[in-house]
């Protein structure tokens, strides 16, 4: 039996090792700082590799564009900005390590990112301990700014260092529910989520509103976001009388899920949030993605004149890949940090305070009052650190593209 025990031990070791080794890699895009000038590093954390890298790279490139623009225009006198990008492979633990690393770098005065809400939650406390300001272009979970009990009206801001330019799921989910119930007249839904902070939260806000409107949740299920085989779940959906599926989760699992549901014989649309709003969703789902819906934060870019310059500059920048759903928000997040640095520099006679802790604290405080016309509209933050620009849109996949079908503004 010698082999068998060895066999069991090695199996255990191997499984553990393979899990831990989940490919990570660093990607620094650094340029030399100007001579005689202060260099301020803006940290960035996003999934730069892996399934969500299309969104992550869009965030990184757009932040890079903002930094380059600021340096070119000499936006802050005497300060050269530098971007340090870290890859979190969409893992909360990696994101937390990156946060610790960024805090440890004395030149980092602000951080853009991350993409995933669960990663963001893991990073919040690290930054709060050192007063390092963080602006996320993409976190949409309401708890992150308004605390766990936001639904009961007891909104408590957990972290003074956390800001975001993206609208929360508190609006996204219910808005999709209203649209499907009132306009599409679809009353039966099958709700699926990936059990992650973002996905489960979004699915919950959707279900709550859909039931309030009088709709019926005919079934619920959860999936593992790393899986590719959803045939059993798809068959279950096809068995019910569901009129559509709401999926709380991201496109790497969402696209094959929606596709397999249609392959299982249920010719019903799949509806989801901003993490399905990617060209990759259509590429992976191919023809099966036709007729699916995704809500996303912000107004369609073609209705925003400020976005035109960004789109032109981005394509002139020669970046690999599109700016994707969060590019504009990432540019605005980075620009907000630059503006906060500018405010502090102007207040302190053209220099940042020499004490790092003091500088970071002042920048965080300055962030609260930052206001400018950004790519996505007016950029500014309310008392919870949420954006004051709460626009959202619903898109339908038509002819292989996401086409806006409805837009809304939250005035609360």
């Amino acid at each position: 039996m010698r082999h068998r025990s060895l066999f069991i031990v090695t199996t255990a070791v191997t499984v553990g090792a393979l899990t831990l080794s989940a490919c990570g890699s660093r990607d620094d895009s650094s340029e030399g700082g100007g001579g005689g000038k202060t260099t301020v590093v803006i940290g960035l954390d996003a999934p730069l590799t892996g399934d969500l890298s299309a969104l992550g790279q869009g965030i990184k490139n757009s932040a890079d564009l903002a930094v380059k623009t600021a340096n070119k225009n000499n936006e802050v006198e005497g300060v050269t900005f530098k971007l340090e990008s870290l890859d979190d492979v969409a893992q909360a633990a990696t994101g937390q390590q990156n946060a610790t690393k960024l805090v440890g770098n004395q030149d980092v005065m602000g951080v853009v990112g991350p993409l995933n809400s669960d990663v963001g939650q893991a990073m919040q406390k690290v930054f709060a301990n050192d007063n390092l300001v963080q602006v996320s272009p993409a976190n949409t979970n309401p708890e992150m700014t308004q605390g766990k009990d936001w639904q009961t009206g007891k909104k408590v801001r957990g972290f003074d260092t956390y800001f975001r330019t993206a609208t929360t799921d508190a609006i996204q989910g219910p808005y999709a529910a209203q649209f499907m119930f009132n306009e599409k007249k679809l009353k039966n839904v099958y709700v699926i989520d990936d059990k992650k902070t973002y996905g489960a939260g979004l699915a919950a806000t959707f279900s709550t509103e859909f039931k309030k409107l009088g709709g019926k949740v005919v079934g619920t299920d959860h999936i593992n976001p790393d899986d590719k085989d959803f045939s059993s779940v798809a068959s279950k959906v096809a068995q019910t009388k569901a009129d559509f599926v709401y999926y709380g989760g991201e496109y790497p699992a969402g696209a094959p899920l929606a596709s397999q549901i249609k392959n299982a014989g249920a010719k019903i649309p799949t509806v989801g949030g901003d993490a399905l709003f990617s060209a990759e969703y259509i590429k992976l789902g191919k023809k099966n993605s036709e007729g699916d819906f995704a809500s996303s934060v912000g107004a369609p870019l073609e209705t925003l004149d400020t976005a035109k310059k960004f789109i032109a500059d981005y394509s002139a920048g020669g970046y690999d890949g599109a700016f994707e759903a969060y590019g504009g928000y990432s540019y605005d997040s980075t620009w907000a940090i630059i503006q906060a640095v500018k405010a502090v520099v102007e207040k302190n006679d053209g220099k940042l305070p020499s004490d790092v802790k003091d500088a970071r604290k002042q920048i965080t405080e300055a962030m609260q009052d930052v206001k400018f016309d950004g790519v996505t509209g007016t950029v500014g933050f309310d008392e919870y650190g949420d954006t004051i620009n709460k626009q959202l849109s619903l898109y339908e996949v038509k002819g292989g593209k996401h086409v806006p079908v409805k837009t809304g503004v939250f005035e609360g």
């Binding site: 082999h3 068998r4 191997t14 399934d51 590719k228 094959p256 014989g265 590429k283």
Partner: protein, 309 residues
């Protein structure tokens, strides 16, 4: 329960895929007692090989015409990597302590995954894989998608071919002999090095077919797909009795069925609604594995071809 036939079909198709990959684990283990953890990556590389051929062909080429070429290229890539791994990574360690080749296998797995990630164009995210046009095929009680059809044909065909090969041909019998006692086999004039290479090559070829089936079924390939698929296939091989080629396929089918049943029906059992559904299927699959190993440590089909322990 009226979707039972459909769920059985789902489970069997998924299981057949696991089984095809599991063959590679089981054959290599049967002959050199090595768990080749790089096998999942060999599977993944087959998928990228097939995709490469399809991208080379002029766009608009019918997938049916392209398929034989894709399969050949997938096999070529997988076999080349597997044979190379055997020759340069495992053979020098054949007389080293057991742990050395195992750790080598893990290292190789990471290296192959990262190589595809870094050097295959646009492989940092999922690459779409061609799929058959048209709706699903309805068989009355259940229906399958067109992509599944390939798996439905390929899996039994592969199993029959392998069965005949192992029991009827000279090389196949030499393989059995090597697995039973390599030293004696060598004394009988069997070139065991060649047999070992053959085992790696056959496992890789099956993994390549599985990779094409995976691509057609799910419409994408990505650099990470070898990890989960490899882990499941390894589980299937253990479940069926590692070292036994039929056990690998049976283990795969049982595992696939267990996952489908767990997804579909556990939540209907009173009091278990929180423990059912897609997110819990792996838990139930591994509960099954533990039960089988407790009651029958040698796996479902025991150790017919080998296990000299």
């Amino acid at each position: 329960m009226n979707d039972l036939p459909q769920q059985l079909a789902n489970g069997l198709l998924l299981g057949a895929l696991y089984g095809l990959i599991a063959i590679g684990y089981t054959m290599v283990y049967g002959i050199v007692q090595l768990i080749n953890f790089a096998h999942g990556e060999i599977f993944m590389i087959g998928g990228f090989g097939a995709l490469t051929v399809f991208l080379w062909l002029p766009s608009g080429t019918s997938l049916l015409l392209a398929l034989p070429l894709m399969i050949l290229m997938a096999m070529a890539c997988s076999v080349l990597v597997a044979v190379g791994a055997e020759r340069f990574a495992y053979r020098p360690l054949r007389n080293a302590p057991r742990l050395a080749p195992l750790i080598t296998a893990i290292g190789l797995s990471i290296a192959l995954q990262q190589a595809i990630w870094a050097f295959y164009p646009d492989a940092t995210k999922s690459r779409p894989f061609p799929e058959f046009e048209g709706g699903r095929l309805d068989f009355g009680a259940f229906a399958i998608s067109r992509g599944d059809l390939f798996l439905l044909i390929a899996a039994p065909l592969c199993m029959i071919t392998l069965g005949v090969f192992v029991s009827k041909t000279r090389t196949g019998r030499a393989m059995q002999a090597t697995s039973q006692d390599p030293d004696t086999a060598k004394l009988m004039g069997i070139n065991t090095d060649r047999i070992i290479v053959t085992a790696f090559a056959i496992g890789a070829a099956f993994a390549a077919i599985a990779a094409v089936a995976h691509g057609l079924k799910y419409g994408e390939v990505n650099f990470k797909m070898g990890f989960i698929a490899g882990l499941k296939a390894f589980t299937a091989a253990v479940l069926g009795g590692i070292g036994n080629i039929y056990g690998a396929m049976i283990g795969g089918l049982v595992l696939g069925l267990a996952e489908a049943m767990a997804t579909a029906y556990i939540e209907n059992i009173p009091g278990m609604s929180q423990l059912g559904g897609g997110a819990w299927k792996d838990v139930w699959a591994f509960v099954l594995l533990i039960l089988v190993l407790l009651l029958r440590p040698q796996g479902l089909l025991g150790a017919r071809v080998s296990d000299r322990a």
